[in-house]
Symmetry: C3
Subunit: 195 residues, 3 copies
Amino acid sequence: MLNPELISLENQVFRCYLGWSAILILKIFAAGIYTGLMRFFTAMASPVELLSLSNPVFKSFTFWVGVLVIKMLLMSLLTAIQRFKTKTFANPEDLMSPKLKVKFDDPNVERVRRAHRNDLENILPFFAIGLLYVLTDPAAFLAINLFRAVGIARIVHTLVYAVVVVPQPSRALAFFVALGATVYMALQVIASAAF
Amino acid sequence: MLNPELISLENQVFRCYLGWSAILILKIFAAGIYTGLMRFFTAMASPVELLSLSNPVFKSFTFWVGVLVIKMLLMSLLTAIQRFKTKTFANPEDLMSPKLKVKFDDPNVERVRRAHRNDLENILPFFAIGLLYVLTDPAAFLAINLFRAVGIARIVHTLVYAVVVVPQPSRALAFFVALGATVYMALQVIASAAF
Amino acid sequence: MLNPELISLENQVFRCYLGWSAILILKIFAAGIYTGLMRFFTAMASPVELLSLSNPVFKSFTFWVGVLVIKMLLMSLLTAIQRFKTKTFANPEDLMSPKLKVKFDDPNVERVRRAHRNDLENILPFFAIGLLYVLTDPAAFLAINLFRAVGIARIVHTLVYAVVVVPQPSRALAFFVALGATVYMALQVIASAAF
């Protein structure tokens, strides 16, 4: 998936990503330490209702799920637009004129469909694990930034994959930021449930 | 996706859909006004436990998720039936006789698979956003009718797509009813979480 | 999907599956009776918080969702490994050398993608219905074993489909164990919500 030549400090896109990744990681560490100290001094106040909008972690999760659901549903529209543009219809009953035939291999349609499938593979598991992660009562600052990272990374993923095609490290990096955050949440959830 | 000639009042299927859409929309408006008045007179009784079956909104959501999960899982069976009927197997280990070869392009199998994929793209995001929508404590009558609209529209979608092929405005209308209801819920969820 | 010749007591793989299925079913019945008696004698103690990790049913669900999310996300990696091994890339921007062309039909890549899609079709509905099933407050022993059955069956499904190809009754049996457990939960959820 990676073009090795593009992973170089000469590549401006890559340099920009590296910078933002470093900032994000530092911010997450700082958040962890900050929240740890806050918890210590506030005597570990446990929220009464984790699934209430007064819990900032749940509020953030709710916001990003809403945004990502809209984003995913827009993929259907993007596919439809590409289908009409290239007159590529998969069902005989969708053909608008008797001259057209069903077609399955238009590269523009298939690109949007691959991006959409990648969403199904990555965003939907995030919805499930994110809710359970909220219920493990994680440190707010860390959790909110993880949700933000997933949300933004998946929007970037769609933009560089299906809207404007950007050379490679961009899609792979967006993919791995969201994957990493989701895997982290899953490991935390497993740790909470296993012990 | 739409055959423009079929969107006409001459088309009985379309007339029928228009009528039902109008009834549904009027019902939703009436429900909104009714619930608003009820809330006013009952001093905004907030349910203690939103995720309990004594909350009619959650009860309705639970019911429709159950029905749609069964419907989705039946798609696998429908695919299997088509595979056996047309002897189209995608894996060498599935071939029942040495004379058969793997095949990927049977139109009947692919039609069911497209319907199934459309379910993944639309029903699964509904599951995630529907639960969060329940947690925003929406007006019961509206919420219950939205869940009903999604549930029925997605069953109709499967019937006209993969069981009996019905000419086009039907599938597109079923698709857009469910999409519209899901987008509405997502926007409500975002509004609750953002402010 | 089934090779009829392999469904015979001569086949050791099939004998082994039969044995384990029987044990699992007996265990589930025993658990149901045990839990029924326990409930009777403990005066139907209803847990205060069903979605807390002190509820063993929710704890088990949480654990298996975590494990299955990790498993599903690993499928992307498995696909990537197969893509690099066979030099099959679907996007022009992914090609690592100008000599390569986009390719879509490598059997190894497609096999992993089929296994991944099967996960989307079966594991994601389980996530939705499993959570609602926890909220119906089911008998702990039965619920925990159902989650276990789904978790283990889906891991076996991936192993025999996409890692080491095992002759047929194995994948079909793993598929149907998970499907059966999910359908059972969905029916219980519908029954709780409908009456």
